[in-house]
């Protein structure tokens, strides 16, 4: 319990540090949100109007006052409102976050379904055709940038074959089939790179565990091969897979920008990029705070999973 409390408090400190750094850095970057807002395609606002709106939005106050306001708001679980369109930031994140999580979850499931069985098979048949082909293919999949994969998928499946829509989003509750159709390509684009990582780590980890004594003992006891692999080898080999996989997923929380952009998937990353471009200070801070909180939470979950997979960690 003390360990958990310690971890929890550490997480809170980490969140405060992240919020402070993000707040200061976005305010230090040049660019005035009000000038941007009123200057689109040749708009020429007068100085008085710009100053008046800055005052209305509280942007004329000293940065430390704005910072204190922000921290007080966060302490009340109030992320504030967008300075571009006055929309609620919490509501915006509430709408966008599930879509990014869904995209990541779909990609994660696809990559696990591909990467783990392939990794196991390659490790059990080292040097075989599948092992060698898998190694080349995974190297290629890891090396090709996700926007290239995405663009190629759009070209092939949407434009040439006409099987899929080019990109976009339909809410699941409105049309489940269309929703899945829009989800498939972006999730696959992420899954291609991710499954390569899972494949390589699973294969390497399995190869490390297979020659160990307890595996030989299990086989000597006459256990069926699949039983040995599943209960003894795989369970021990999964530790690094979980670690690496969780880190990859954490990275995806803020790293789906390109996929969301290429496939027009309205998730959190796209929202963050738009907010940075518009210098929407409260929106940027709010989104990064939520992403950081999730990342920290994910790490906590990984620690717990460690305990489940390897009971020695709990001691």
């Amino acid at each position: 319990m003390a360990w958990f409390l310690h971890r929890f408090l550490l997480s809170l400190v980490l969140l405060w540090v992240v919020t402070t750094l993000v707040f200061l850095s976005i305010h230090m970057v040049p660019g005035d949100p009000v000038e941007l807002l009123l200057s689109q395609d040749g708009g020429t606002p007068d100085r008085a109007t710009v100053e008046m709106i800055r005052k209305d939005l509280g942007l004329d106050r000293p940065v430390y006052v704005q910072y204190a306001d922000k921290i007080a708001g966060i302490a009340r679980f109030d992320l504030g409102r967008s300075i571009v369109d006055d929309s609620s930031i919490a509501q915006g994140i509430g709408r966008r976050l599930p879509r990014t999580l869904e995209l990541i979850a779909a990609a994660a499931v696809l990559s696990l379904l591909i990467g783990i069985p392939a990794g196991i098979y390659a490790a059990l048949h080292p040097g075989g055709l599948f092992d060698r082909a898998g190694s080349y293919a995974s190297g290629f999949a890891q090396g090709v940038p996700v926007f290239v994969v995405g663009t190629l998928m759009i070209l092939i499946f949407s434009q040439l074959l006409g099987w899929m829509p080019a990109g976009g989003y339909v809410a699941f509750e409105r049309d489940p089939a269309a929703h899945l159709r829009f989800l498939l390509m972006p999730a696959s684009a992420i899954a291609i790179g991710l499954s390569a990582v899972v494949f390589r780590i699973t294969r390497a980890s399995m190869k490390d565990v297979l020659p160990l004594d307890f595996v030989r003992t299990a086989r000597a006891k006459g256990l069926p091969e699949w039983h040995v692999v599943r209960r003894h080898v795989l369970r021990n080999a999964l530790m690094p897979v979980i670690t690496i996989f969780a880190l990859q997923l954490g990275g995806l929380l803020g790293g789906t920008v390109l996929v969301e952009y290429v496939f027009n998937w309205p998730g959190l990353s796209g929202m963050l990029v738009g907010a940075v471009n518009a210098r929407d200070y409260p929106m940027v801070t709010g989104v990064i705070l939520v992403v950081s909180a999730l990342f920290i939470l994910l790490n906590l979950i990984v620690d717990i999973l460690y305990g489940i997979v390897d009971p020695r960690v709990r001691k």
Partner: protein, 510 residues
């Protein structure tokens, strides 16, 4: 193969499994009479009268109507106002048509007065506020007739009433919703930021039989390539801001149509007079040193036109062929001007642009290489767009790459562009004066006789060109691409073409 119960079941299950994965085209066919538009940007907000860019105007034009508008020939025609006339040098009289707002409430003189007063109010952020400030008072004669009194004689009042973002909204309605209640062909049914906008036809639109389409579904596609892919895949029926590199392909694709105006929005250089470009000879040297056709070819893939004078639409009586081609490429003249300015040994200047938009970046790179040929060394400053705007506002950079369109065909619309004393804004030249230009432009605004105005603005354009108060680079083609099932699409002339959504009430879908 024998058809038995098992194979039949397997086939049906396979077909069922494939159904959800079938093409977007099938989805499209099921959409019926709903027009689907792929928009380049989701509007930053729906606040009335604030310039939210061309994409934002497309939405605004579907929700709102102004008093007047331009037709496809560039002629002012009535919208909510059926007639207008000048009663005296200081008073214009307008008579409203029998029009209704989207909620069924009639459009009255009181609504117009309220709208114009809100626009002119301090801090409104309205795009046309500066022009609206010339209005002294609005007198309501009756529900349909009102008079606009100006502080000075102003020939630009009818053009002001046709500004793209000047939609008349029901008095007091902006306190309930940002966009207010407009009198446009469509009503905003639902919108989710960055995802979609759904519009349904207004039952009270003042033009009989219009709009033809019952629904419009707008999806923003920030990536221009995806926007084109969505059109090709049949996900959308019409897209705006067609990328220049895709125009030839779209025009050649069966089933797709491309509608563009070559002299649409335009790119130019603004000068900062606080540095070397306070000397008119150096500004002229730059203006004569550019091979403008290369910009059209390299940056806009041939879809545009050189801009070698003050931008005036070819349909306008104020268009002057000689002045439109004032800055011909003449490197010898440019070098001679440098020598006259005492810079024959070379000149080093900084050019502010942005790396965020390729057309701005590529133009900066081309300007750098072409000016190097006459001995001007250009240091490029290429931050992101937001930083570039702030740097421009602070007056940083000796000159800057700019892109803009005209929102009015009145010759006065170019005043801010050519007169550096008008507005200290990142978009325009600043820090120097062109002797006599401000006075000429003021005369042009207060002159009602068209022939005299033509002469005044010709003199003003000549002054601007001779002093190179700005430097035209090139027009860029603007327009729309659509499925050939979409009919009735017309474009406004030349520089007004980005605002053609004003004519979208007559779009059809076969």
């Amino acid at each position: 193969m024998m058809l038995n119960r098992r194979t039949l079941l397997q086939s049906l299950m396979a077909a069922a499994a494939m159904a959800p994965m079938s093409s977007g085209r099938l989805l499209a066919q099921g959409a019926g009479k709903r027009l689907r538009i792929g928009l380049s940007t989701y509007p930053a907000h729906f606040r009335a009268w604030v310039n939210v860019g061309y994409a934002g105007h497309l939405v605004s034009a579907l929700l709102n109507r102004g008093l007047l508008a331009y037709d496809t020939n560039g002629v002012l025609v009535g919208e909510l106002a059926k007639s207008w006339e000048r009663e005296s040098d200081l008073v214009w009289r307008f008579t409203l048509d029998d029009a209704k707002f989207n909620n069924g409430q009639p459009v009255t003189s009181a609504d117009v007065k309220w709208t114009l007063e809100k626009i002119a109010a301090e801090g409104s952020g309205a795009h046309m506020r500066e022009q609206a400030l010339q209005i002294d008072s609005i007198e309501i004669v009756d529900d349909r007739v009102f008079k606009v009194a100006t502080k000075e004689p102003s020939a630009t009042i009818p053009a002001l009433m046709a500004y793209p973002f000047l939609g008349i909204v029901a008095a007091g309605s902006t306190s309930e919703q940002d966009q207010g209640i407009g009198a446009g062909p469509y009503v905003l049914t639902s919108a989710e930021k960055g995802v979609e906008i759904l519009l349904t036809a207004s039952e009270h639109y003042f033009r009989n039989g219009l709009p033809t389409l019952k629904e419009i579904h707008i999806t923003p596609y920030a990536d221009e390539n995806l926007r084109v892919a969505a059109l090709r895949a049949g996900d959308v029926d019409l897209i705006d801001y067609v990328p220049w590199n895709a125009m030839n392909d779209i025009a050649a694709t069966p089933g797709l149509k491309l509608d563009t105006q070559a002299a649409g929005a335009f790119m130019y250089l603004s000068f900062n007079g606080s540095g070397a470009f306070g000397d008119p000879k150096l500004r002229q040297a730059v203006s004569f040193a550019l091979r403008r056709e290369e910009f059209v070819q390299a940056v806009f893939f041939g879809h545009g036109a050189p801009l070698a004078g003050v931008p005036r639409p070819s349909v306008s009586p104020f268009f002057n062929k000689e002045l439109a081609n004032f800055w011909t490429y003449d490197p010898d003249k440019a070098k001679a001007l440098l020598k006259e300015a005492g810079r024959e040994s070379g000149l080093k200047v900084s050019l502010l642009s942005t790396s965020q938009y390729t057309m701005h970046r590529d133009i900066a790179v081309l300007v750098q290489s072409q000016l190097a040929e006459i001995g001007i060394t250009v240091d490029l400053i290429l931050p992101d767009w937001a930083t570039r705007v702030t740097m421009g506002m602070r007056g940083q950079g000796d000159f800057a790459v700019q892109g803009v369109g005209m929102d009015s065909l009145d010759p006065d619309a170019t005043s801010s562009l050519v007169d550096p004393t008008r507005a200290a804004h990142y978009n325009y030249s600043r820090g120097f004066e062109v002797p006599g230009l401000s006075a000429l432009l003021a005369r042009g605004r207060s002159e009602f006789d068209e022939a005299k105005r033509v002469a005044i603005y010709a003199a003003a354009d000549r002054l601007a060109c001779e002093h190179a108060s700005f430097c035209g680079v090139s027009y860029r083609a603007t327009g729309f691409a659509r499925s050939d099932k979409v009919g009735g699409l017309e474009l406004l002339p030349d520089q007004l073409s980005p605002f053609s959504a004003n004519l979208f009430d007559r779009l059809t879908l076969s």
